[in-house]
């Protein structure tokens, strides 16, 4: 009977409102209120003095590239990056090769998870066949195969009629739709935010209006169908305002923001560094401020990384030709602590909430809580420790991070999944 006793931690559990010095107890992979004195003698102990004990972090938006793009990442390497970052549950996107638009591919992903994953991975399936936006994928079969949501990922469904039917159909299975909000016709060839800087750099602009249009469309369709739409990686001030009003009207809209859109702006693009190229793009300081305000007042529900590995040679290209996306899992916690806690004075408990209970609740996952009976998914971290992040020494197969080589503050010490320590002070356990 595996027992674990985490001692002298600062326990932060937003799900139970706990934020105090104390101990955590685990029996058979689940949280328990206490262990009997005899059990305590046998329990493995972790001295967590100086560490925060939080629920394992939850990320609703990662790309693990398996099947088909395993030069960039695999479920094995991606979940190791997650463990390094303190994440115990991640939701992976279906833009694999082939796309996860059928139960067989989902089964393949489940097999890889069972074989290679060190944290919990929950797959999503496509909305449309091949993410082509033309015909519905077998959404019922995908649900039966175990997807937790459907999304066409970067290939936002452009047809309003198709999106409406997908919502109606998915609602039957209580399956949320996640949407990357981008009007294609307005963003042909675009590589960065449209504005003063794209004008100066001579790069094709991606106007925030192209996001706002689809956000508004989704609000309207969610209202009309009653289906839950989760808006991925919001970036624009106007979009935040649309979501704020929709929520006030009781519409079933939720939203996420990424660490990079919270921490960075388009000002970083002056030297055409492809490590700042992602879709949706970095926007202006006013947009960044609006995202922070949206997280503060609950308009934006949670943080999600959009962890998007690409190999060094893929990113080492002309700016126009480099793929979109950056790594996120290993740097998310320190980056978010830096922006929200240190810069914008969010409480530590609030930051933890945005990365644990909130995303878990949003998809109804059994995660994000340290309450007795919950799975013993725990992240122990030192919010103050400074360390240098070196992407090449990271667990991901790729290195495409804008924080490569930088000092970060806040470091994960232990990642525990179902009571098993999978990451301990710089090392994946068992590797």
């Amino acid at each position: 009977m595996p027992l674990l006793w985490i001692r002298h931690a600062r326990v932060i559990d937003p799900a139970t409102g706990r934020d105090a010095e104390g101990d955590l107890f685990v029996r058979d992979g689940r949280m328990v209120a206490s262990l009997a004195p005899a059990e305590r003698k046998r329990a493995r102990q972790i001295d967590a003095r100086g560490l925060v004990a939080a629920p394992g972090l939850v990320d609703l938006h990662v790309h693990f590239r398996e099947p088909g793009q395993t030069r960039k990442e695999t479920i094995g390497s991606g979940t190791r990056a997650a463990a390094v970052g303190g994440f115990t549950t991640v939701v992976c996107m279906p833009n694999t090769t082939p796309p996860a638009d059928n139960a067989g591919t989902i089964q393949f992903i489940h097999d890889a998870i069972r074989r290679d994953a060190v944290v919990k991975v929950l797959p999503t399936g496509c909305i449309t066949l091949g993410q082509k936006g033309e015909a519905l994928a077998p959404i019922g079969s995908l649900k039966r195969a175990g997807v937790v949501a459907i999304t066409d990922d970067g290939d936002c469904v452009q047809s309003n009629e198709l999106m409406r039917r997908a919502l109606e159909y998915a609602k039957m299975f209580d399956l949320p739709i996640m949407d990357h909000c981008q009007d294609r016709s307005m963003t042909v060839g675009s590589v960065m935010n449209e504005g003063v800087i794209s004008t100066r750099l001579g790069l094709r602009g991606w106007p925030h209006a192209a996001e706002d249009l689809i956000v508004a469309r989704n609000v309207i369709l969610s209202s009309y169908t009653g289906a839950h739409i989760h808006l991925q990686h919001l970036t624009s001030k106007a979009s935040v305002e649309i979501v704020r009003r929709a929520k006030a009207d009781g519409i079933r809209i939720t939203a996420e923001a990424t660490p990079h859109h919270l921490a960075l702006t388009e000002d970083a693009l002056g030297t055409y560094d492809t490590h700042f190229k992602m879709n949706p793009p970095l926007r202006t300081e006013a947009d960044r401020q609006a995202l922070v305000a949206g997280l503060r007042d609950g308009t934006i529900d949670c943080i999600a990384t959009d962890h998007a590995p690409h190999t060094p040679d893929e990113k080492d290209r002309e700016f126009d030709h480099a793929p979109n996306g950056i790594l996120g899992l290993e740097t998310a916690l320190p980056v978010v602590l830096g922006v929200l806690m240190r810069r914008h004075r969010f409480t530590l408990a609030r930051v933890v909430d945005l990365m644990t209970r909130r995303p878990a609740t949003l998809l109804g996952l059994e995660a994000g809580s340290l309450a007795p009976g919950a799975p013993a998914d725990i992240c122990l971290f030192d919010p103050e420790e400074s360390w240098r992040y070196e992407a090449k020494s990271g667990a991901s197969k790729s290195r495409n991070s804008p924080w490569d080589g930088q000092m970060l503050q806040g470091r994960v010490a232990f990642t525990i999944v179902d009571g098993r320590t999978v990451f301990r002070r710089g090392h994946i356990v068992g590797d």
């Binding site: 750099l201 001579g202 080492d316 002309e318």
Partner: protein, 315 residues
């Protein structure tokens, strides 16, 4: 201050003094263009590779000629028959060129920022011959050189750039040069092709041709591309010409001693009437000639010479 720049990537990063150094060097080289023996031996034994990954006639020929006037060996890189069509990356192509012992690389590329990218990879000088919609520094330098020949100092001079500004690297390089040199620049064209964001670069934006051209001392026209019509930036070439084309009547709004410029290639009868393009106020062909002298200056300086050496070099 001595010239210590190895690459020429943008005008944005040049100081006013550096622009003046290039112009002064170009003026010295221009003198030898009229001689019967037009060559000087300063780059003898050096190899310059013209890596043109996008079509170009004028710029490529001018760089070719400039290099030959300086006695360099020139190798033209033909994109159509090269390994880039087999999927070789720009990094590999450029590193191979460097490994072939080229001394300098002149690059034209459709992707903005690629000369900067190459400059970080290579140890040899990189000269930007036009990158996407970003910059075309030698064009901006030759245009301002030509303006100065006609107007003297550009401080306070009213310069109008008219046409497809949004997609124009020529416009951006001219804007940076002209603003540094103190000119009063107004960009004119349809609102879809001249967004207000340009004002952040220190210029005025107008969509009213008459008020913009009033008393202007330079009007620079940019080529209108049919592709922009397909992208719905304007309704038709005919409408563009009727709203923004330069004709005799509109040219009468200009300052009497105004010059008319165009980086080429010209769409006659679209952005400019033929009689104006060929008329007395047109300096379009002077621009081409000056393009050789300016590029000689750029190659000379980036090869490591100092501006004050040019007199001895051309003796």
């Amino acid at each position: 201050m001595p010239w210590n720049r190895k690459h020429l990537l943008t005008i944005e990063e040049l100081s006013l003094e550096e622009i003046a150094q290039i112009h002064a060097t170009a003026a010295a080289f221009k003198k030898i263009l009229g001689r019967s023996v037009k060559k000087v031996p300063v780059l003898r034994g050096k190899t310059i590779v013209n890596l043109f990954l996008e079509p170009s006639t004028r710029t490529r020929m001018a760089f070719d000629m400039a290099a030959k006037r300086l006695s360099a060996d020139v190798i033209a890189f033909d994109a159509a028959s090269s390994s880039t069509t087999k999927g070789e990356t720009l990094r590999d192509t450029a590193q191979n060129i460097q490994a072939l012992n080229a001394d300098m690389i002149v690059i034209r590329h459709a992707a903005s920022g690629s000369p900067l990218y190459l400059s970080k990879i290579l140890t040899i000088p990189v000269i930007n011959a036009g990158d996407g919609a970003h910059e075309h520094p030698t064009q901006g330098l030759l245009d301002t050189f030509t303006m100065q020949e006609h107007l003297g100092s550009l401080r306070g001079r009213k310069v109008v750039i008219l046409g497809d500004i949004l997609f124009s690297r020529v416009a951006r390089s001219n804007i940076h040069a002209l603003v540094k040199m103190g000119a009063a620049v107004t960009l004119v064209g349809p609102s879809t092709l001249v967004p207000g964001w340009f004002t952040a670069m220190g210029v005025a934006v107008s969509h009213d041709l008459k008020s913009a051209l009033a008393d202007a001392e330079v009007v620079m026209l940019l080529r209108i591309q049919h592709e922009r019509q397909r992208e719905s930036h304007f309704p038709s070439i005919g409408e563009y010409t009727s709203m923004f084309g330069l004709n005799q009547a509109r040219a009468s709004w200009l300052n009497p001693r105004a010059i008319i410029m165009h980086p080429g290639p010209i769409n006659r009868g679209v952005e400019i009437d033929s009689d104006l393009a060929d008329g007395a106020r047109s300096v379009i062909l002077e621009q081409v000639t000056n393009g050789i002298a300016v590029r000689m200056a750029v190659l000379y300086l980036c090869a490591g010479y100092q501006p004050e050496q040019v007199i001895a070099s051309t003796r």
